[in-house]
Each structure stands twice: as C-alpha cells, then as structure tokens.
Symmetry: C2
Subunit: 827 residues, 2 copies
C-alpha cells in the first residue's frame, strides 16, 4: 500500500551515510557556508568558516546520535540520568572530530580549501556553564559515559549568561557578562516541541477521587521549559549521548482582557521576565546564595528533568513497579536534590501511588555525590522561602522528615541532640531545610569524591548518618578524561605516548598508560619527551607574549597555579613564597644568582564577584608582578604572569606547557581536586599538600616523584588549637610585613588580607606551612637542574596518572552505584 511505498522510499535514502572523504567534506562545508551561515561561498571569513565546519561536524554527531537512540529504545536498558546544575564543557569542535575519528579528514579537506583546522578551532568560544571543578567534572564524566557506551542522559540548565568573563583592569578583577550565545551555538539542537510547564507559588488544596483524598497544587505562576540537546560523542564507538539543557520561556497559556495599550504592553513585557529564570549562572564556587531566583532555577531544572524522565519511562512502561529497574538518578551535589521531592510529588499527587509505594521507589533510584568538605557549605533553604515558592514540596519534606524521625527514634532512642542534628528541618530563629540531610536520607548511596574525602564524611560531616547506615557510604575518586586533557590539548604528547606504547588503545583503555614506566629511563624517550614539553612551552610563551607583551625565557621553570581563587586553596601562600624568593635574589651576589633556577610563575583563576579576600589576592599578585617584572636587577630569574579569564580552553593551553604545578589547599579542605590530574597526565610535576586525591596520587606515583609539603590532615586541628602559640618562621613574618608596610603599594587595601594570616586568625595555616612550602620549592629547584631526573619524574607522573581517568570513575559508578550496563551501537 501507500504506507509501504513511502517507507521504502525513505529507507532508500537511508543507505546513504554521510561520507568523510575530502571531497564530500568540502562540499558539506561549502554548502553550510552558503545555506546555513548564509554567506556567499566566495566571501567568508575564518569565523564563518568555523561555523560551517561546526555544522558539518554537527551533522555527523546527529547521525550517530539517532543511531544510538534507536538502539537505546530497542534494548530499553536501565538508564542513568545525570543531574547537575553546572557543566563546564569548554569548546566542542576539536573534541568532537577526535571522538568521531574524523579529525585528519577534516584537516585535509580544509587545507585544500586554504584553511587551517587549528586556526578555525580558535574561533570557537567556550561554553562556561559552570564555576570550576564540579562543573568540569560533570563534563569529563559525560565524555566517559559516552565512550564507555553507557545509556545515560545529562540534564542541566542552558544559562544565557555563563560564568562571567574575568577582565583585569589596573590589577583588579572586573566581571563582564558572558553572553556566550551571541554568535549562535552550532553544538545545540533546539527542541521546540519538547517543552514542559513548570509551576511556582500558589496553594495546595484537597481533592477526592474514588473516595481517596489527594493533594492538588494550584500554582500561582507558570513558565515553560524548552529542551536544548547537546550531543556528546563517545571515542572509538558509534555511541553518542546527549546533554539536555533547559531554557525558560514564557508560558503560552495566557489570555487576558486588556483595557488599554499600556496594560497590554506591560503584561507582555512582564511575561518575558520568565526567561530570566535560566538567564544567569550564579558565579559562586562552593557556596549557595539562597536567593529566590536561585531556588527557582533549581526547581525549574528539576521539574523539567523529572517530567522528561517520567514521560520517557511511561512511553514504554505501564507500571511504576519497573521504575527502579529502568531509572537511576544521580544527584551532583545537593543543587538538584529537590528532584527527590519532585518525584515523590508526582508519584503521590499525579500518579496516585500511595505513600509507601512511592517512598519505596524513591529509596531505590537516587544516588548522591557530595563535593564539599566544609561544614558551612551545605545548602540550607529557609522554610519560608520554600513554602511560598513550592508549598506542596514543603509539605512532602515535612512528611518525609516525620517518617524518618519516627523510624530513627525507634533505632537510636530519644537522643534529642542527635535527632536534632539529623533532622531535615533545622529549628531556630529562621527555620531551614537541610538539603544534605534530605539527600542522604532519600538516596541509596552517598558518594565522596576521594578516599580522604570519604573518610572525612564518615568521621565528621555525616558521622551520625554513617553510624546509622554504614552501607550507604562509598567513594569514587574523581577523574578526568584523557580524550580532552591529552588527545585534544596535547597532540604532540598524544602521538609520543602512542608511539612508545605501540598503540592508541590507551585513549579508551587508560590502564595501558602505565606501560610508559618501562621506558622511564630510555634516553630516546627522554629526548622526545623534552621536545614535546618544549613545543608546549613555546605555545604557552607565545600566548603570554600576545596577551601582555611579556617575553618569558623557555629555559625557566614554568610554575603554574591555576584554579578558582579561594582562601583555602592558598594562592596567597604562593605569592608569599614568590615575595620571599624575590627578597632572597635581591640579597644575593652575582655568583649566587647564577645558581638560581629561573622561574615563570603563572597564576590564573576567577574570584567570586562578592568574595573580597579572593579579589585582594588577585590584586596582590598583580602589584607584586608589577614590582618584580619591572626590576631590571632580576631579569629572567623571576617573572610573574597572571592569565586572565582562566577557563577550559585556557587550561588546555596552560596545562601542557607547565613544568610544575601547585596545589596548596590546607589539608582536609579539598574534597578531591581535579586539575592536578590533568597536570599529571601532561607530565607536569606536582607541588602539593597531602589533601584530596593527592593522597591517592602518592600511591600511584610515589612520593619521590612529587614535591609534598605541609601539615597532614590530622595535624591540622592541633595546629589550629595552638593559636597565638603557633611558631611561624621569621621569613613569613618578613614577607607579610613587606606587604603591610606598603612595599608593593596599596597598603590600606591589603591590610585586611594580612590580618587574616596573622597568628590566631590564620585559619588556613599559611604561617605553619610556610617553612615546609619553601623546602618543597627548593627541592623542586634542585630537581629541575638535574634534567635527567626531572624528565624521568615527568614520565613517571604521566605513566602513573591512569587511575585518574574519569573512565575509571564512571565504571565504578556504573557497577557499584547505578547498576547500569553498556549498550553499544553496532558500527
């Protein structure tokens, strides 16, 4: 019949896959120039060429993603839903073509058209929809989920403004809104028909249906969530999964009777404000602002995602009994934890399952990962705010808490202190909902992000819960994807590794990397290894010169300290060390100076806009740099470079070019740390405290191959207790005094900064760790002059970094937490 004829015709076209030979690629690119970018093919610039190129790649992503979807819906495996409010994806072009396996083909095709792939790739702006480590981790994990063929979907928010761009004016940080969508985004697919209404405010009423009483939420406001899909290709597989980001749009269901034009215009302009829900990423790393708009963002995100998940489940299942066998929900920190309450609400009020059945499902589907160590960080939501914005959710939280406390009383008796601590509701002048407690109580698994972190959770932060449910507590040490952090960002190293391992298989199977160890003493490898580092140092040096005109010596040690600026991360310790070094050099005679290892100290990182101390640290680095860089007496012995607007693409450039990298968090404050892993993979040596995942690195690489320093995690409390009695070295006092006395100017401005590291105020123990820090720096200097030894340490660093691939992390999650299986597309 007709239907058959139609189907055959469509299938006929289907045989034709997109071709990847140079001629087909060129035709595709030029067609996109003409029809997508809508420029004449005789007149287009590098940016337009990039756009056309990106669209050609996008076509290929879409093709594979469709195939993947077909397999997923046919096989119907249990799926993982990865919920995170932040994803720091960076650029997509190079990563995509490499994962698709068509990089060289595209590069050839372009070069015949007179374009260079690398130049076009530089046209792409970063997608900065996250703050730092947590957000980049989510991005790395998506790459591993795709590569390992897991049936997963990421959910997030499509902020119109990503993390602010950092501009440095006169040494001070200024924030520039990051209107990243300004020039279009070829990496997303707008799904105009995948929209869900999201409700806010209003009241809860009762309704009787078949003699049962149900709650009905009558909202006071509605907005629409629209899906934007970002394909995530796996490497060495046809599988391509998707990161679905939600944007807020005004809801359509709205008539009005306006009595004058002004009212009408105002009403429409007001409705448009709905869009502000998803308009901006909160720029606070590891802190929750607790503003209404932020809570609205969280619920907007959660509600749309949960509706989508339940819709997908119901498309092919009749009964919620199967739900836990088909659905795993991962909560990336507490930001998306309202999802628990939202699923409960849907099961109770919309699916009418009854409390016990609904609760049973909840307990089987959620897993929760916390990324924080600090007892101040946990998110609390004021009951008044929650009750007004989400009245029904507050009721359900109270109900969950009631059931929990009742059960708890039976288990631990009337230990009111402990009951109070464990309750979801924090009593007090302002009542709060503790999102961490809610998440722990309702999840089957609570994960830490490193072994040390997990220990701290069990013994400190969540001690009460650990004692109750020890089985819930696990950890998966964070990891990063070698695809982006070696293959994309360090092509020379990538080629070298493959050459010496005799295979590219390590790109999917990171355990093979350890094979480099066998060649750690090979002179030929040494030679080539040094060449690779040099290439990357040249690239970085050129960037520095282009950026601020500073010429740096390639013979100097490139000493890099890049990450969000935080007191606990102790960028200040680094600056104090630099001042000390400067002071020492100044007092040396010419002969001694010859023995000094020249250094280029690179710092980069953003401060939250409201974080005064962090902003002062940035300014301090700049005034110190100004002084030292302009001191002709110093020359190449010491140069300071601040790299503004540190983000993923800057990291891709900086990390491969680093000789040494610093990770200085006071022990017990960094839950994991992930940038250290990237440096390690790139053969950069670490100068670090024994904190977070560094402890596991010591096991993998050996402490002889790292420069460790500082108080260990269990020494910290004792040191803090000493207070004013704590002895700090004279050099420390001296450098602080230099700042205080205006040696670098801005005396008054830096006073509060100095106060915070004085005696008993020195919470992060800069004084206590200073001597040990200087020793570690001296050890690094010593090692650096022994080229042989340094290169070997560098090789061993890379060789031992295999454990820190997110492939390993994800595999552990899949097996031990989510219970999902790979589901692979046939090629």
């Amino acid at each position: 019949g007709e239907g058959k004829g139609k189907a055959e015709r469509i299938f006929g076209f289907m045989d034709v896959f997109l071709e990847n030979d140079p001629l087909s690629l060129q035709k595709d690119i030029l067609d996109h120039v003409e029809f997508t970018v809508a420029k004449s093919r005789f007149n287009f610039d590098d940016f337009e060429a990039y756009q056309a190129l990106a669209h050609s790649v996008r076509d290929r992503l879409i093709e594979r993603w469709h195939d993947t979807q077909i397999i997923f819906s046919k096989k119907d495996p249990k799926r993982l839903y990865f919920l995170s409010l932040e994803f720091l994806m960076g650029r997509s072009l190079s990563n995509s073509v490499i994962n698709l396996g068509v990089r060289d083909q595209f590069a050839d095709a372009l070069s015949q058209l007179g374009f260079e792939f690398e130049v076009l790739a530089e046209q792409e702006g970063d997608a900065c929809l996250g703050n730092g480590g947590l957000a980049r981790l989510s991005a790395c994990q998506m790459d591993s989920l795709a590569t390992l063929d897991y049936p997963a979907i990421g959910y997030g928010l499509r902020y119109q403004y990503g993390l602010f761009r950092q501009i440095i004016l006169d040494g001070f940080q200024h924030e520039q809104p990051d209107y990243w969508l300004n020039f279009g985004n070829p990496w997303e697919i707008e799904r105009v028909h995948i929209t869900y209404p999201v409700k806010f405010y209003g009241t809860v009423t009762d309704e009787v249906l078949n003699q049962e009483k149900y709650k009905v939420w009558v909202p006071g406001e509605m907005v629409e969530a629209v899906a934007y899909d970002n394909p995530i290709p796996g490497y060495g597989t046809r599988n391509t999964i998707v990161l679905r980001l939600w944007a807020a749009k005004p809801s359509d269901q709205h008539n009005m009777e306006a009595y004058n034009t002004g009212d009408y215009v105002d009403a429409v302009v007001n409705r448009q404000k709905a869009e502000s829900i998803s308009s901006i990423l909160y720029p606070d790393d590891r802190s929750y602002q607790g503003k209404e708009l932020q809570l609205k963002q969280q619920y907007f995100f959660v509600s749309a995602s949960v509706q989508d998940i339940i819709r997908r489940f119901k498309d092919s299942h009749k009964n919620f009994d199967e739900f836990p066998e088909k659905v795993a929900l991962q909560l990336n920190d507490t930001h998306p934890s309202l999802a628990i309450v939202e699923v409960m609400r849907v099961l109770l009020d919309e699916e009418h399952l009854g409390w016990n059945k609904a609760w049973d499902i909840i307990c089987k589907i959620f897993s929760f990962t916390t990324h924080t160590v600090s007892p101040e960080a946990p998110v609390k939501i004021p009951v008044d705010l929650l009750g007004s914005l989400l009245p029904r959710h507050l009721q359900i939280i109270y109900d969950i808490n009631f059931h929990f406390v009742e059960k708890l009383k039976k288990m631990i008796g009337l230990d009111y202190d402990r009951l109070t601590r464990m309750s979801i509701v924090e009593e007090g002048a302002v009542k709060n909902i503790r999102m961490a407690n809610l998440s722990i109580i309702c999840s089957h698994t609570v994960n830490g992000v490193s072994r040390l972190h997990s220990e701290l959770l069990k013994t400190k932060l969540f001690k009460d819960f650990y004692e109750l449910w020890p089985h819930k507590f696990q950890y998966k040490t964070n990891g990063v994807t070698q695809r982006r952090w070696i293959v994309v960002s360090n092509p020379s190293l990538c080629a070298l590794i493959s050459k010496w391992l005799g295979t590219e298989a390590w790109i999917r199977d990171i355990d093979l990397l350890i094979g480099l160890k066998d060649h750690a003493d090979n002179a030929e490898l040494h030679q080539q290894w040094k060449m690779v580092k040099k290439v990357n140092k040249i690239r970085l040096a050129e960037y520095i010169e282009a950026m601020n005109g500073l010429k740096v010596s390639l013979d100097a040690m490139f000493d890099v300290h890049t990450k969000r600026v935080h007191e606990y991360k102790r960028q200040l310790l680094n600056i104090l060390g630099i001042i000390h070094r400067y002071d020492c050099i100044k007092s040396m005679n010419q002969n001694d100076r010859k023995k000094v290892v020249p250094r280029v100290c690179v710092m980069g990182g953003k401060a939250a806009p409201g974080y005064e101390m962090a902003k002062k640290i940035i300014k301090l680095f700049h005034v110190v740099a100004e002084k030292i860089n302009n001191d002709n007496d110093i020359g190449d012995l010491l140069k300071l470079v601040f790299i503004p607007d540190y983000n993923v693409s800057v990291a891709e450039l900086v990390i491969p070019g680093a000789d040494l990298s610093q990770h200085l968090s006071t022990a017990g404050h960094e839950a994991s740390g992930t940038s250290s892993m990237k440096f390690l993979m790139n053969g950069c040596l670490l100068l670090a405290t024994e904190d977070g995942s560094t402890i596991e690195m010591i096991e993998e690489i050996g402490q002889d191959n790292m420069f460790l320093f500082g108080a260990k995690v269990d020494e910290v409390p004792a040191l803090r207790e000493k207070g004013p009695a704590l002895k700090v070295p004279l050099q420390f006092l001296r450098v602080v005094r230099m700042i205080r006395e205006g040696h670098f100017g801005f005396k008054d401005y830096f006073q509060s900064l100095c106060d915070k590291i004085e005696c008993e105020n020195d919470y992060f123990l800069l004084g206590a760790d200073f001597a040990s820090y200087l020793e570690a720096q001296a050890a690094a200097d010593k090692a650096f002059v022994d080229e042989e030894r340094w290169t070997k340490m560098s090789i061993l660093s890379a060789a031992g970094s295999g454990k820190f691939s997110s492939d390993r992390t994800i595999q552990q999650y899949a097996e031990n937490t989510w219970g999902i299986q790979p589901c692979r597309c046939p090629f």
Copy 2:
C-alpha cells in the same frame, strides 16, 4: 599559487546549483529532517516535515539572494530603502515556492514521500508584525519590488511578540500574546555579525576638531541591534531581495566590578531588559501611543537602519556628494521619520559635512507617504520626552525648524497663524514635535495613497504646505500583489484565469487581466467561474464548521465584512442592517420568506486592546449572532459567523470564498483601503461607500457592477452640521431601540455604544446613511438571484481589478518618486 588553487576548488563546487527534480528535493527534505530538525527520518510528524520543507525552500531562496547581491554590488544602482515599522507578511511557504517556480516539483516530491503539500503548508504560523492595512501594504510592495527587479531593501523591527492573537470568550475579545518565534522561524537568517550600537539618553557636549566646533552626543544607555534577514523572492525572475528586521540585544561593551553576587546578578538581569525594546508590536491601528518605549522602538529601528545604509554606501563610495544618486529613503508614514534627523545628525556630527551640505542631501533623499486622513491621527512627540531620550536630535529638529521658519517668513510674510500651524514645534502647555510637518518639510515628495486621499491632503490636512510647495504633492493609489491574493490563495481561480487568457503572463503583467472582459458573457466561463467560487465557498464553510460547529448553506450569499474594527469603518452599520433584516424576516409570512435571499454574514477583525467602542461592537455582533443563529424560525435565511483572529492566512481563506464584501467607511475617512482590492481580484462584489480607492474602482469597473451607497465626501460636512435636525429613518431608530431595550441582552453594556450613534453624537453618520445602505443591500439581494448577472458582475470585478496591483503602485513610485531602475539577475 595557493590562493588560486583554493579559488578553483571553491569555484568547482559552484557549478552545482541546487537541483529541483523530485529525487534531489526528497533528499534535501530528508536531510533537513535529520540534520536541521534533528529528527530521525523514520519518525517525524507533519510539523517537522513542514520545517524540513521550509528549510529546503530557504536554501533555494538563499542561493538566489546571493546571486542577486552579486549583481547589485557589481552594478551599484541607486537603491531604495523602504522603512516601515510594520510588515504583515503572513505565511511564507506557498508564496516562496510559487515565486521560485518550484511549487509543483515540491508537491510531487512530497507526495511520493506520503505527504501533501497543502497539509504541510497549514502547519506554518503567520508572521503578524503589523496591525492592518498599512502593514500588509508594505508586504505586498516588497513582493512587487522583488518581482519588478528593483534594487530595494526593506527595513523593519523583529518584534518577538507580533500582533496579539484574538480569542473570543463569551463573545468578548481577549488578547493572547503572539509568541510567534516559539517554534523557530526558517524564513529568517540571523546575521550575528551585522550589529550596530544604538544610543539613548545622555548629554550633548562640544568638541573642537581642526578649529571647527562639533557636537558630541555622550549617550547614557546603549543597546545592540542585530539583523535578521528575510529573503523576498520575485516571481518570474531570479531576483530575491531582503527584508532586514532588527532585534535588540544587550550591548557587549560592559564591564563592572561587583561587590556581591546579588549586584552582579541584578546587573546582568537588568541588561537583558534591553531586549524589551524590540519585544512587542504596539497593537494600535492608526494611533500613536506616545509612550517612551514606543519612541525608543522608533529610534532603535531608525538608528540601526541608517547605520546600515551609510555603511553600505561608504563601502563603495568615497564621497557623500554621490549619496542622493545612490540612496532613496521611503518613509512609510511618520513612524520612521526620525530617520531624517538621524541622517542629519550623522552627516553633521560624524561625517562633519557642515549644515548646508548636509541639508542639501537630506532634501534629495527622503520621500514620505502618509496613510491617514484624520486630523487627530498625526504623531506628536512631547518635547520633554524627545529631549531626554534623544537630546541631540531635539537640537537638530529645532535647528531645522529655525531655518524653515526663517525661509517661510520671507515667502509668506508674518502670517503668524499660518507660521504657527506650519512650524514643526507645536507650542502650548505641553510642547510637541509634529512628525508630519517634519516629514513634509524634509521630503522631496509627499504621497497620498489614493486620488481622493491626495485631494483631502491638499485641501485640508496639508493645505498650508500644498500652497507653498504644490510640486511636492503626489499620490500613488495603493495596490496588492496578485501573487499572494490570487495565485497563492485562490489556485482554482488562478488556473481559470490563465486558461481563458491563454497565458500566465498576467501574474507579472496585471494589465492583461482586462482580457477577461472579452469573455464576460461566455456561458462556459460562467459555468467554470461559478464552480471556482463554489470550491472556495466549500473551503470557507468547512473552516467555519471546524471552528465553531456551525453548518452554513452553500446556496446562501456569503457576505463578508473583515478588517480592523473601528468606528469609522462602521461594522456597527452592518450589524444594525443585520438586525433590521432579522426583524423583517420575523414579520414575514412563509411565502414572503421564500423570496428572501439567504445570507451568511461573516465578520472578522481585531479591536485595539484599549478601544472600548470597538470591543463593544465585537460583543454586539456575538450577542446578535447568538440570538439569530439559535432562532429556529430563521433557519438558513440568516446566519452570523464571527471569524476570530483575522490575519493574513485567514484572509487568504475568507476572501476567495466571499460573494459580497462590505466596505462601509464614512466617506472621507478611509485613505485608501486595500482589502477591497483583494476581494475584487477574487471576483467578489463590493458593497461600499464612495471613499478612498473605491472611487477609482468605480472608474475601472463601473458603478453598475458595484453596490454603492451613502453620503459622498463633500456631503458629509453639511450632514454633520445639521446635528439634531438630521432626519434618520424610523427603521434605524427601531433597531437601535431594540439594542437599548435589551433585546439581545447586555443592556447596560451597550448603552454607551447606542449613545454614540444618537442624533448629534452620530459623528460617523450611521443614521444618515442607513436608508441608502439598506437600498444597496436590497440591490445586492436582487442581483444575487439573477445568477447570470451576478456572475458577469463578478467576472467584470476581477477583470477590472488590474489597476489595483501593487506592481502598478511600485512602478509609479520607482519612476515618479524614487528614481530607481530595475537591476535584473541573469537567469
């Protein structure tokens, strides 16, 4: 060398034009399903098929547009810039494929895939970026400009919300925001790199440069204008021109130093408000609200367009002397008249030309068309508002006015009354800028939109100016494009016309249409003509039934009255006539009733949200309909249908299905009227007053072939003067009394409506014209029963409609006003 190799390679690909055979079209459509719509080609619905189809058509539009651009920039002809704040484009798909000449090919290709072209075309939503006649006229004129190969560019605003959707609830009009971009818009091309900063507020300072003093405007606010290009294909030509619409985006040039997250977030969210400038179309037909936002819209539009025009000129010319030879600027009503001042400002303050030179240029480039008759309508902008928003522009206006008044004094002496009337500045308690005076003074030509309109301008509205500059005053009777209003909307009639004329050439050369007259008595044509009307009546009847469940008889006369609801358009007169007809039928015996011509009275049109009387008229129609339609005693003799949300695509359906159409404006109030032209082209008879362009229709078609009634334009003032002494027929008093006394309910609500047509309040002379209106209606009834006669009248209406093609209008503008020449792409 390398460059050559590259060029050859790109040229090689160029040989391949897009193919239009079924197989190529199918591949294109399915590729767009997969890669643009990003749906699997095995699973897409009608809407997705429409999107893919639209993108395939878009590709072809872009191809021709590029070719057109190449020719235009090579030949560098004088260009017309058509500035209008409103364009009522309606749908684009059918129009595009017809103008491209690929409709049948696409229809075939689709049918083989199992889709019907017509069904997919119905998926498209209207682009309603305008209120009514003026806006649709702009759209028709763009079509003619493209078809006649003129080098023209349209400029407008890309409102996010077009004209509200009209919803009828319980007989009352409600307004629903028209978020028309919700599902994407394949007909526009976003030009992310074509952006201009637009400034507002601030102050004016002096600056000295080379010993000359210049004014510098230091703005207080900046937003960015981004271009969206909408290709407009010509028919029977490769030429494709563009309508460039501007959208407001936050400006990028903005750093800040935020001291807390709240400030930072607020600042970003505030910046986003910039977008509200282009967010909404003001829903007032022929009235200016005078709100700050509306003035901002006008200047935003003008500033971006002028920057674009000057940029294009400077790209290929060194010297402004040539400007008037290369640039013609058409002001569509006074809404864009700030363009005059903006060009002056750029020439003075940025190009530093000096007053005399700049003024000389201004006087040669602008032409102005006014669309209004009413002395209340002219736009006035309060001086305070203008001075705050555009301080420099106010200065320039004062300067222009000073020069003008000085010159005027020399010409007419110290006639202060006349000087006051002609001044651009209106003195008084609130000082105002008169935009019409500004436009007349600075334009080389002032056009009316019909002969009558022009007479009224010369003798009344702009008498003072006409006496000063008689040569400036011209008129170009409006026209509509037969491509949309016959070829797209009435394919059966189109085929019939081509058959009887033996050619399709009339689609480009409307003068041929008169050839139908030769066959006006041909029985075979009569037969076929009636069949066509029947087909269109069936389509309309089905729409009515689908819409509100009412079955209407195809034998009834379809009597249509569709246009914006206005007191001067006298929809109320129609309703009173209907009540009278109902009243008559009710009092007839069965025998007399058999002689009654059954009627389906269709009304449609939107009321401005704040226009109370217009909204009451809509409600009155509904209550009368409710009563009559439910009166079993009446049956098919009289049925009332209100078609909600009258817009272009509804018009395309309604007009071909109408037997009779009503155009009832009180003589002297409709400047032209364009819907009457569309009805005429579709062989629909007119029942009309002798107003606007109707007067010219009488000349073309003959008064015997129309049903004319009512006071003529020069009788109106006398009738008004009579006041209470004016005799009105008893039937009129009776029907008004029926409403007053609550015969249709809502007595109180309709009281003010009745008051406004009582005695001396009856400004629009419903009472005076009622008897004559009823006579015309009776004449129509009489003609309708004589099928032969009616069909002949219908044929003669269509045959005589040729003059009312916008092709004729545009040709007159090109030759007599703009001085532009065709510039045709070789095929």
